[in-house]
Symmetry: D2
Subunit: 151 residues, 4 copies
């Protein structure tokens, strides 16, 4: 599979094969040729305190970790392609988050939450990502910084 | 309400009134007079990759954030008590996570996950907690460090 | 003192009264009406491994912590001004770093290092900053994220 | 060189060959067969604010980063030994800090500061360490969490 096919396979896995992503309602979508976003529509189960009707901090952490992992893997794909599906599946299974920091900037209020990420360190073993969470009004809710094992 | 009553109220809120805690299945329980734990039984919806059958990193982050917040609030209660219920509810609404780091140490494999936390900085405005996640076999799965606004 | 006078006083303190800043050679300078930078010229004492002739990671951490603290205080000054010198000195003594993350992106090679920071959370108790370190060729060497007590 | 020789070589490098460690006055010493500490005697150049006579936060960050790096490398040595000096020097040059978090728990007051570290994740590529800084009276001044590239 070439880089495009591997990338499509990765977003397919994130959207269809990771139970927790479906349970929360994360959806990865391509918004430009080289840019992927993770979207999460509000639902009441995602609330922390019901008096404030804001996202639980754990949801914020989960979506930031997920977009950081996704974008790190997509970056790694560029270096790995072309690669056979079986070999790539083996590689994918070894990738994962090493550590992450989340900064909660504003209460997580909104109808739709959009997570984005940028790779700042592109190593062949380790990638470092900066992640952001905004709501539908482009209010900046949280910031993430994550270190991912990619090779 | 005295410190004991306020503490019981806080654990009641975490167990019964926070929708996301119920959605995931977190349950706070007192394991000693001064020690609370957060327990999470495995269910398939919490999986990241189904091939490995391990916790999604976002679940790990969510439970660590939650136990850190709970223990920080319980620490603050000791300073605040006694306090009227209404005033305490107002204080509680202003408490929250400022930032958190999660270190993923081992794959999140297990039937039951137990999160614990210890307050390392006890300020009247800010608390710093160290959190840990173990499984039922006492394998150390993840480490958290969190800064919480408590006053 | 008004906001401008307090700001000038803060940069004076950072440049002239903090022994470690002088020991390493940090120098704060205003590069626009509302933007301050911290500059550090290379000297051999700042080296980690002499074979690579790069900055010790501790120097990187120190300059990121310092610019984050400086910019957080300058942000707080805007809210506090006008204020009497004695009262401000008392406030200043209580401000400080709560926690910080440093991400090392590239080896710290260069003749001149420039640290900048931006406040992302402007609270009356706590500020969160994102900090960056570049060299004279604008290579991005490190990233910082810091939480500061400001009130 | 066997594990013992490689370990002694690493502490020699940290004590004698890293200019910044000497500039600040860090000294690594073995306090048990398998336990190394980093000690730093107070000197006025290490002060942040002279009114409080406490360590600059950057010194705290620097010593935590250094003990974390040292202990991570010593852990890696156990896996690498025996190894020829030249090959080991090549490996050592590629090791380094990926990211670090510092939590400032108490003002850095004291005559002697002692930094310790424990490896919590022992990977063949990446190690995660927890670091602590105490003063001569065993007051816990700061906490560190670091991720290190070791292979």
């Amino acid at each position: 599979m070439d880089a495009k096919q591997l990338s499509d396979y990765v977003t397919y896995v994130f959207n269809e094969q990771l139970p927790f992503n479906r349970f929360l309602g994360f959806e990865a979508s391509w918004v430009a040729e080289d840019k992927v976003e993770l979207r999460l529509p509000w639902k009441d189960e995602l609330m922390g305190n019901p008096h404030q009707r804001i996202l639980h901090g754990g949801v914020t952490a989960a979506i930031l970790d997920t977009i950081g992992g996704l974008v790190s893997i997509l970056q790694a794909v560029k270096e790995l392609a072309p690669m056979e599906p079986d070999e790539f599946a083996g590689r994918l299974a070894k990738m994962g988050t090493i550590d992450m920091r989340v900064d909660y900037l504003r209460p997580g209020r909104g109808k739709l939450f959009i997570a984005t990420a940028e790779v700042l360190r592109k190593g062949n073993k380790v990638a470092v990502c900066r992640m952001e969470l905004h709501n539908q009004d482009n209010e900046h809710i949280a910031l993430g910084t994550g270190t991912y094992l990619v090779g």
